[in-house]
């Protein structure tokens, strides 16, 4: 990466953090998903009655080893290691989408894209810088959210049950494989639509469709129809990584100044 690309990444990151409206959106959603929501779950379990018929279906799906634990512990483990990871996936998608929309379509909207295109970087280098800026922010927010969530959850679990509950390997797959891959998918789809989209809002609306598969997974997890095992998660991560790679290659190859400057 050369000095010019580094300057673009730095400028893009600074651009998003200095925009209070966008930055607060980026911070509020992770805050709700990783602090508020799990806290509600933990408190609900703590104060809920002992018999939970509704959860029997989902509990039956758990491996035999886990079913031997106390009910509270089983449910907490289910929430921490099976339900929260799926909720968590919304964070990289959302952060990457907001950042990518702002850095690609936002530049077009504010007529700064043309100026950038007149710089001595190839179109591929400009794209790489912008994708990298969006990806970096998405990963920073995701990792920070994870650590904040773990801290708050562990404190809450310890205070309510007197024990600590550690995250399982699913979280590593989520953090190191699935989250980066779906971040890149989100960025690429935004970039792909950026030639047509005339406003940041229009561009962000397109990214909403990415959330739909996540919502389906959440519903599946809650109703017990589907319980994602570590292996399924790993395969899903590999599939997303491959998809991200193909989409990224395709999106970068298609671009030319003329397409980008159309209706600029």
């Amino acid at each position: 990466m050369n000095h010019a690309m580094y300057a673009i990444i730095q400028k893009d990151l600074r651009g998003i953090t200095s925009n209070k409206r966008l930055f607060s959106t980026i911070l509020i959603v992770p805050l709700i998903l990783t602090i508020v929501l799990p806290s509600i779950f933990i408190l609900a379990i703590h104060f809920a009655p002992e018999e939970l018929d509704e959860l029997q279906n989902i509990l039956k799906l758990l491996p035999a080893a886990q079913q031997t634990k106390e009910l509270d512990q089983i449910i907490l483990s289910l929430i921490l290691n099976s339900i929260m990871p799926i909720f968590f996936l919304m964070i990289p998608i959302m952060t990457a989408s907001i950042m990518a929309a702002s850095s690609f379509v936002g530049e077009k909207e504010k007529h700064t894209l043309e100026t950038l295109l007149y710089c001595p970087l190839s179109l591929k280098q400009i794209f790489r810088s912008k994708v990298l800026a969006s990806f970096l922010l998405s990963m920073i927010v995701s990792f920070l959210s994870f650590f904040a969530m773990m801290f708050v959850l562990e404190v809450e679990i310890f205070l309510t049950s007197g024990k600590l509950l550690l995250p399982n390997i699913s979280w590593f797959i989520i953090l190191l494989l699935v989250a980066p891959s779906i971040s890149l998918i989100a960025i690429t789809l935004i970039v792909k639509g950026s030639a047509k989209a005339q406003s940041v809002e229009e561009s962000q609306q397109g990214a909403v469709f990415l959330i739909l598969p996540i919502i389906l997974l959440i519903v599946g997890q809650f109703t017990g129809v589907l319980l994602i095992s570590t292996w399924i998660l790993f395969l899903l991560g590999i599939f997303c990584a491959l998809l991200a790679y193909i989409l990224l290659k395709k999106a970068m190859g298609k671009f030319h100044y003329e397409i980008l400057l159309k209706q600029c």
Binding site: A4, A7, K11, R14, H111, E114, T115, P120, L121
Partner: protein, 304 residues
């Protein structure tokens, strides 16, 4: 080496109309070339073609021997571009913007600061350098764009309407600044404008455009001798004899048209001999505007 060469350069957008229609021209290094014409004449499209932002539909072009369609980034390293749509970042200050663009062009931060300070001073923006761009007026933005285009010491400057939005005094200053750039630093300037009067003040050669076509090319003298050579002489006198062809434009103001300056003393002598008192004689050569209108009128006649 010539700065720009275009050979039958054409660009057709989807509506089957040629935005640029078979333009052939060459520009020497250090020239201030005025590419003139009304809005929609194809000036901006030509700038985009020369910078590789658009691919020619037909013909070719070269900037310092390089094809913009093949290696646009190499041309960008040598050129500075100011266009209406090439804006800067509102959330950065004037100085931060210049440092950012400097770093993109490979100029380190400390050198960018030195160059930015000099440019801001020359363009009268020192007091606004730490203000966010969102507080800048149109004229200030335009001047900062010029500074941005010069931060990496380009060899060629593409200016698309650089004085639009400027008050007359600022426009005058910017014109003087551009003239000095070419004179002192040897920068080639490709200036697109519809403000023919400003162009006449600074350009050394002109290309006159209409609807994508290059109507004429040359220095002011060449254009005058090829297109409109008449000199209008405005005379303020107490009396003008009927037998001498003239046009009365005021009580004591008259206009006569001559081909050569040598004809003027003869007319004055005839007036004096006829008993007229002469108060003022002004010879007016055809301006770029006169030439342009004569050309477009001729073009209309041809197409009709």
């Amino acid at each position: 080496m010539q700065a720009i060469i275009t050979d039958n350069l054409s660009k057709q957008y989807t509506d089957n109309k040629n935005a640029v229609d078979h333009i052939s021209l060459t520009l020497d290094q250090g020239e201030v070339f005025g590419f003139l014409g009304p809005n929609g004449a194809g000036k901006t499209t030509t700038v985009k073609l020369l910078n590789g932002m658009l691919i020619p539909s037909e013909g070719s072009c070269q900037v310092f021997g390089m094809d913009p369609a093949q290696i646009p980034e190499n041309i960008h390293a040598l050129s500075g571009v100011v266009t209406e749509h090439a804006q800067m970042y509102d959330n950065l200050t004037g100085l931060e913007n210049l440092i950012f663009y400097g770093s993109i062009f490979g100029v380190n931060t400390s050198e960018s600061k030195v160059r930015a300070a000099a440019l801001l001073k020359q363009l009268d923006l020192v007091t606004a350098k730490d203000q966010k761009l969102s507080t800048y007026s149109t004229g200030m933005r335009q001047r900062l764009s010029l500074a941005r285009a010069l931060i990496h010491h380009p060899k060629i400057l593409f200016l698309d309407e650089p004085t639009s939005g400027l008050d007359p005094e600022s426009a005058q200053n910017v014109n003087q600044f551009i003239r000095n750039l070419a004179k002192e630093n040897g920068i080639t300037v490709f200036l697109c404008t519809h403000q023919l009067r400003y162009a006449q003040e600074i350009c050394t050669r002109y290309g006159l455009m209409e609807e994508g076509k290059l109507l004429a090319l040359g220095t002011l003298e060449q254009l005058r001798s090829n297109i409109v050579s008449d000199i209008t002489v405005r005379i303020k006198s107490s009396y003008f004899p009927e037998w001498l062809p003239h046009k009365q434009i005021g009580k004591l103001d008259f206009e006569v048209t001559v081909q050569l300056e040598e004809e003027i003393p003869h007319i004055i002598k005839q007036l004096v001999e006829a008993g007229s008192n002469i108060y003022q004689v002004v010879a007016k050569h055809p301006s770029l505007e006169d030439i342009y209108f004569a050309l477009t009128a001729k073009q209309k006649e041809v197409t009709q």
